[in-house]
């Protein structure tokens, strides 16, 4: 692997940057591998990387039906945080944040992880209770999170309008270790590092079937480029998880919804952190390019069109304009959609499946990007050991049958 560094840029700059090699090979599928990962997003590429790096499996392939990083990896608002309520979730997401903190160096690829801080706003007495519960729970779990008064929140984000709005800001939870990263770089960085360890990254290769042997175990995949055999198959296919898993006869408690995001035209730096409001549904940060990156909600209905309704985007912008009334004059540059796989408790599944040799990492809903290195790492572990890592042990498919839900969404329920 060619080392990336400032020096290498200068050296190659003297010869017109002509000395660079492909960051990953355009691999042709081989007949057999030790393990196959279905889905070339950050999660899948990362799993392949960790299989090769930490578990010594080098005969690994990642198959991707389109181009790598083209699904939700390249379509999200890149927010990274670990301030989740339940112990299981906090452990999972903080595992990921810890990996993020050294990912650029591990991959020798600048993924631009920027710990700008994530501010979660409280607008009602109930929000305050929920936010403070998060702060306390996070602290107990060793996850940084602190409670800020409205004045303190404005000190972090001076543009924030806290008063004279429909739902005044009563305070905020602030996770300083949270932030953003460059989404494409995560996919490319994992791809390049995995490739260097011998992993085959096979683009434009759609899975059309999963083959099971006489004992019912998974033994390979049928693809548009032929059959590829492997005793272990990890599926990391986000919105298409249901479609892929059905090929092996596994039904998942998942529905796929359109999720939209949008950016403004780029402006000079003005926004120092990430601001989220679950109450009025606002999610915003500023990218390195200067665009305001805004997350919108999901549509009400399942869809695979990667396109959502206008009213969903409108709703997101309404909330942004309420909290940041100076942004009314900014303009939307681009709006796009992804397909998110949502479980009934809004928590992911990283687990073995009823089919031996078949593993799944799915159900990340609207929040999978932040978990990229963590989920990848745990999926690789689960595949390599044929058993979950303690961190992902609670995130099974069976929890829905048994009632052991990890319900972050319900925990914020509003009534009274």
């Amino acid at each position: 692997m060619q080392r990336f560094s400032g020096l290498s840029l200068i050296r190659r700059g003297l010869t017109g940057q002509r000395g660079w090699q492909p960051q990953w090979r355009q691999a042709e599928p081989k007949a057999a591998y030790d393990a196959i990962i279905v889905g070339g997003g950050g999660h899948g590429l990362g799993a392949a990387f960790y299989l090769a790096k930490e578990h010594g499996l080098t005969r690994v392939a990642v198959v991707e039906k389109g181009w790598i990083g083209g699904g939700n990896t390249g379509r999200n608002t890149t927010i990274i945080r670990s301030n989740y309520l339940f112990d299981e979730s906090a452990a999972l997401y903080d595992h990921s944040v810890q990996l993020w903190e050294s990912l650029s160096q591990v991959l020798n690829y600048n993924v631009m992880f920027s710990q700008r801080g994530v501010l979660m706003l409280a607008h009602t007495v109930h929000d305050v209770q929920v936010c403070q519960r998060h702060v306390h729970a996070n602290r107990a779990n060793g996850v940084d999170n602190e409670w800020l008064t409205p004045e303190e929140a404005r000190a972090v984000c001076p543009l924030l309008q806290t008063d004279d709005i429909r739902y005044p800001v009563l305070g905020a939870a602030f996770q300083r270790r949270g932030g953003t990263a460059r989404h494409d770089a995560v996919a490319w960085g994992f791809a390049r590092a995995a490739d260097a360890l011998g992993v085959d990254i096979i683009e434009n290769c759609e899975v059309i079937g999963i083959r099971r042997d006489a004992h019912g175990a998974a033994c390979g995949i049928e693809t548009t480029r032929g059959f590829i055999s492997a005793p272990r198959i990890g599926v990391s296919a986000a919105g298409h998880s249901s479609v892929i898993m059905k090929m092996a006869g596994v039904e998942l408690p998942i529905e796929s919804y359109p999720l939209q995001a949008l950016v403004s035209e780029p402006v000079k730096p003005i926004f120092p952190c990430v601001v989220m409001s679950n109450t009025i549904h606002a999610y915003i940060s500023q990218s390195d390019k200067g665009e305001m990156v805004i997350g919108a909600g999901t549509d009400a209905y399942t869809s695979y069109t990667q396109r959502g309704g206008l009213h969903i985007s409108r709703h997101a912008i309404e909330a942004i304009c309420e909290l940041f009334p100076m942004f009314r004059r900014l303009r939307m540059l681009r709006n796009w959609g992804g397909i998110v796989d949502v479980t009934p408790d809004r928590s992911p599944i990283i687990a073995k499946t009823p089919v031996p040799g078949l593993y799944v990492n799915c159900g990340w809903g609207t929040g999978g990007f932040k978990a990229t290195p963590g989920a990848a790492h745990l999926l690789a572990w689960t595949i390599a050991h044929d058993a979950p890592h303690p961190i992902n042990a609670p995130f099974t498919i069976e929890r829905f049958r048994d009632g052991n839900l990890i319900d972050e969404a319900a925990a914020a329920a509003v009534a009274h």
């Binding site: 400032g6 840029l9 700059g13 940057q17 090699q21 492909p22 990953w24 355009q26 181009w67 083209g70 390249g74 650029s104 160096q105 690829y109 600048n110 631009m112 920027s114 209770q129 403070q132 729970a137 602290r139 107990a140 004279d164 429909r166 739902y167 494409d184 770089a185 490319w188 683009e203 403004s264 035209e265 780029p266 402006v267 000079k268 730096p269 500023q286 390195d288 390019k289 200067g290 069109t305 396109r307 206008l310 409108r314 912008i317 309404e318 100076m326 942004f327 009314r328 004059r329 900014l330 939307m332 540059l333 681009r334 048994d402 009632g403 319900d407 925990a411 509003v414 009534a415 009274h416």
Partner: protein, 1001 residues
């Protein structure tokens, strides 16, 4: 400075109306009808901006919305600053103040241009390869600098004082674009009786015709008359809505199109009471897209200097605005149509040299050019340009028979370079409709094919370029759209015109000596992406066009690649040895051009951001100085401070009043549902955990509602008004969703039941009168009801009158005191409230708010759904097993309660907590651990759900969910807080009057 480059006549500007404006503080003058770009060019100003990455000097490239270079900030006042506007679209008004962007200290001398010198070392994607050591430096050193260097204009820093508006509209046929095709389509659809909306982004109708010296002449037979008649007819037709300055920015499912109408940005003094922009959501039966085409630049070294412009733009500035963009011009082209610009310039007095990369140019226009004495160099390429802030010369080189740049070179001095590489049909909206695009090798363009939506294209956006043909194509499209919209059509419909290949040329870059990729041959002007960057991306293995786009950022600037995408695609395709359609096209996304955030929000701001729901008693409470809290959409009185009391003091006083005398509470926000029908009791039995069969008429019961997953969803008191009629109450926040859940079961699962549900939440004002004196206060006001404990015991219900007003009276208590809830029709709520308040004054009646209500109920251990429960709590967890109807075979949620996890001994259960130090009030949400002095990560075994100072008990109290909590009675646990671990003792959640003697009084 005079407008030295203004022609003597012609154009659509008003030469009698000069308009003064400033650019970077410099006072200039233009004419009414100018854009900022045309006015600047008229003043000889070509340098208008700096590029994103290398800060290269840039000039006006285009005359329309595709402009990548000429971005400015327009400032009306401190709060009305709009960055990143395209000077080519900004209409000039008196006093307009424009500022260039992305430069420091000045546009002419910009220190950021150092990046231009560093260009060899900072190619596409350089930032992925460096800035990684030391680890922390990214965030503190590198990133802030990168951020400071990027971005374009300055974001406004003050709240935008302007308003924005929204409108829904419907039509039979929506026509997007009012050029020849769009006008014809609108006219022909309207002639067939269709309700038509015609929109165009420009201030006047005509589209591309506006760039012609004689717009009507190019339309063929009777063109001038047709144009005038058509425009007049459309404006006069009441069934046609014509929207100018209106951009169709997005195509959404099921033929919903978003339009952005700019109402006041072009005015010198807008009426501040009127909106700045209006966003339309148009649902059209049929859509005709007549969105035209965009001219493609050519890719050659130094193609970005100010003074290098698109040929068609130069022609538009000349014909429409009467501006000669330069006097010594060179046209570089690969197709005939561009010769029109050279001819027009020549006729306006400029000298023009033509450089044509093709081997020969023999078309009619080329012949005319030669006849008129223009020098034409065929088989010639451009290998460089010179001029720092304005192009001064270009260098050309002859191509050999194989198209290789090997021949003689020559320098041509010039002050203007026109370039044209053909036209790219504007398929943005069509593609947004999920329409498929088909590559046309003949036209070298992607053309619209199939769409799932009811849409058709007409004119240049489907390759029918000439105005006359586009008119015919539009007529046909309009007629077909009217027919498909269901209007009867008895007129013969013309056929669509065939696509034309004139004006088409291969995309990509011009040949260069040695075949080497040249430096500084720009593909994406704004983002500074060169052909070298594209080749680098391909070399580094980025093969999908989406990868190339993301790695190099080509097409990701504020013009979204309108001028660059096809050139980039062609260059990548050639490098990869693939055809253009094999490499594919990036997805077109909304919006077509940037759309103001404020217009999406429209009226939804401030007090109209969400409806503010208030009760009939709200204004009374406000007059008493109540502090309100938001609960869902409702405003609820939280407490009633007197004489500057703190919340703590007010709540203590209100609590004392209720416990010792009586208090008055507005419970009107509670949800209410009237459940009526002969099967009402069966319905209630199936839905709620409780048994209802034995609830007598005139009695109430506390009901608990689960979801079918077994977790508590809602609760509330239910009164049986008649055998077949229940008055069900829900939580304030749960009103709508409980009704929806009930309807769901009723309509889709239990269709056998004869029951109907009606929301009566707002029919009734609910006044809770609570406290030992409540009966005495009420007795004076009530008719037809015996309030005695015997006649109306706790959980009794009665109907009668209060102050002559019909009432439903429930003897219920959420405070633990003797209490009544008086339901009266809402319009009478205030009068009854005031009457009770007056009657209670001798008894010390005190209005109290939600905070006091919370304290009082916590003292009694009553849960609040959503606070003490959180969607993961079962009735048993909450200590409510007593409420479950034991005899019932089923109810919603029952089966789920049998799952293994529901019986785990480790489940969290609701308990009371008493702090070791009685005056310490725990924080709600605080975690609970077994041992003191543990350091994180600890394993919390629970958390505090409710916590208050109880004035009644003279100490703090708390409710908590604790693992196996009920087995820990008396145990000491710890609440770790910064600096100390607070010891707490586990107790029963009922702190006050555990026997309930007070509420049964």
């Amino acid at each position: 400075m005079s407008q030295g480059l203004r022609t003597v006549s012609g154009g659509r500007i008003n030469r009698a109306r000069p308009v003064r404006f400033t650019f970077d503080g410099r006072e200039l003058s233009g004419l009414e009808g100018d854009t900022l770009a045309s006015a600047l060019l008229a003043n000889g100003v070509h340098l208008v901006g700096r590029s994103f990455k290398y800060h290269r000097p840039r000039g006006v490239l285009t005359a329309g919305p595709e402009e990548p270079n000429a971005l400015v900030a327009i400032r009306r006042d401190a709060a009305r600053v709009t960055p990143n506007l395209r000077a080519t679209e900004v209409e000039l008004y008196e006093g307009l103040e424009a500022h260039s962007q992305n430069r420091w200290p000045s546009l002419g001398f910009d220190t950021g241009a150092i990046n231009n010198l560093l260009a060899p070392f900072i190619p596409a994607g350089f930032y992925y390869k460096t800035f990684m050591w030391p680890r922390r430096a990214w965030q503190w050193l590198y990133e802030p600098r990168i951020r400071a260097a990027t971005g374009l204009g300055l974001a406004p820093e003050h709240p935008d004082p302007d308003s924005y508006s929204n409108r829904f509209a419907h039509c039979d046929v929506l026509v997007v674009g009012a050029g020849p095709a769009g006008l014809a389509a609108a006219q022909s659809a309207a002639a067939r009786g269709a309700r038509v909306i015609l929109c165009d982004e420009q201030p006047e109708l005509g589209g591309s015709l506006l760039g012609e010296a004689d717009p009507g002449a190019s339309l063929g037979e009777n063109g001038r008359d047709w144009l005038a008649d058509t425009i007049r007819g459309l404006l006069a037709n009441p069934r046609v809505t014509v929207l100018t300055r209106t951009t169709a920015f997005g195509y959404f499912p099921h033929n919903l199109i978003g339009l952005e109408q700019r109402l006041s940005d072009h005015l010198a003094q807008p009426d501040c009471r009127q909106p700045r922009e209006r966003q339309w959501q148009v649902r059209a039966r049929q859509v005709v897209l007549a969105t035209g085409a965009i001219e493609r630049p050519l890719v050659f070294p130094g193609n970005d200097r100010p003074g290098v412009m698109l040929a068609g733009a130069v022609r538009t500035y000349l014909n429409r605005y009467g501006v000669l963009a330069g006097r010594r011009a060179v046209l570089i082209t690969t197709h005939d149509e561009a010769y029109r610009s050279a001819l027009d310039l020549k006729r306006a007095g400029a000298t023009v040299t033509i450089v044509d990369a093709r081997n020969g140019a023999s078309g009619e226009l080329a012949e005319t050019a030669r006849r008129e004495g223009l020098a034409v160099h065929t088989a010639t390429t451009v290998i460089g340009t010179r001029g720092r802030l304005r192009v001064r010369s270009i260098r050309i080189q002859r191509l050999d028979a194989h198209g290789q740049a090997r021949g003689a070179t020559e320098r041509i001095d010039c002050d203007l370079v026109l370039m044209s590489g053909g036209y790219t049909p504007s398929v943005h909206l069509f593609s947004q409709s999920r329409g498929k695009l088909a590559w046309s090798e003949g036209l070298h363009a992607f053309l619209p094919a199939e769409s799932p939506e009811k849409v058709r294209c007409a004119g240049a956006c489907r390759g029918v370029f000439s105005a006359a043909a586009a008119r015919g194509d539009g007529e046909s499209a309009g007629a077909r759209a009217a027919r498909d919209a269901g209007l009867t059509v008895d007129i013969v419909i013309g056929e669509p015109q065939p696509a034309q290949s004139s004006g088409t040329a291969a995309a990509g870059d011009l040949p260069q000596p040695g075949g080497a990729p040249p430096a500084k041959a720009f593909v994406d002007w704004q983002n500074d992406v060169t052909s070298r960057d594209l080749l680098l991306a391909a070399r580094e293995g980025f093969r999908s066009i989406e990868h190339v786009k993301r790695y190099t950022t080509t097409g990701m600037a504020t013009d979204q690649g309108k001028t660059s995408n096809l050139n980039a695609l062609a260059i990548v395709a050639r490098q990869l040895g693939k055809s253009i359609p094999e490499v594919g096209l990036t997805t077109f996304r909304m919006p077509y051009t940037p759309v103001t955030f404020g217009s999406f929000a429209g009226y939804t701001r401030g007090e109209l951001f969400d409806p503010i729901r208030t009760t009939p008693i709200h204004d009374w409470a406000a007059r008493q100085g109540a502090v309100f809290e938001d609960v869902g959409l409702w405003k609820r009185a939280r407490y009633f401070p007197r004489n500057g009391e703190s919340m703590h003091a007010a709540v203590a006083r209100e609590c004392q009043a209720v416990r010792s005398g009586c208090g008055l509470f507005d419970a009107s926000t509670l949800g209410k549902i009237e459940v009526v029908g002969k099967d009402a009791v069966t319905f209630m039995n199936r839905l709620y955990v409780n048994g209802w069969t034995n609830l007598a008429v005139g009695r109430c019961r506390y009901g608990i509602l689960l979801r079918d997953d077994g977790f508590i969803y809602d609760d509330g008191v239910v009164a049986r008004i008649a055998e077949d009629r229940f008055h069900v109450t829900t939580t304030t926040g749960g009103a709508a969703r409980v009704l929806a859940m009930m309807e769901d079961y009723l309509q889709t699962e239990w269709t056998d039941l004869s029951v109907w549900l009606t929301s009566t939440s707002e029919q009734w004002s609910v006044i809770a009168l609570q406290g030992p004196r409540a009966r005495q206060v009420l007795e004076a006001l009530v008719q037809e009801v015996d309030l005695s404990a015997a006649a109306l015991p706790h959980m009794g219900a009665a109907t009668g009158r209060i102050c002559g007003i019909p009432m439903r009276l429930f003897r219920v208590s959420f405070t633990g005191e003797l209490g009544f809830e008086i339901n009266v029709p809402a319009d009478h709520g205030l009068a009854v409230w005031e009457a009770i308040h007056a009657a209670g004054e001798p008894h010390g009646i005190t209005p109290y708010g939600t905070e006091t209500m919370h304290v009082l109920r916590a003292e009694k251990g009553f849960v609040i759904v959503g606070q003490d429960t959180d969607g993961t709590v079962t009735p048993d967890d909450a200590g409510l097993t007593w409420a479950i109807g034991k005899q019932k075979p089923d109810f919603v949620g029952k089966r789920a309660l049998e799952r293994p996890a529901m019986h785990s001994p480790e489940r969290k259960q609701l308990v009371g907590l008493l702090t070791a130090q009685p005056h310490v009030v725990l924080e709600e949400g605080a975690q609970i651990v077994l041992d003191a002095r543990t350091t994180p990560p600890t394993r919390p075994i629970g958390h505090v759900t409710s916590s208050y100072y109880s004035a009644t008990l003279g100490r703090s109290i708390a409710l908590a969910l604790v693992r196996a909590g009920r087995s820990r009675m008396g145990q000491t646990l710890y609440v770790p807080m910064p600096g100390e671990d607070l010891a707490v003792q586990v107790t029963s959640p009922v702190f006050y009057d555990p026997k309930g003697s007070r509420l049964n009084a």
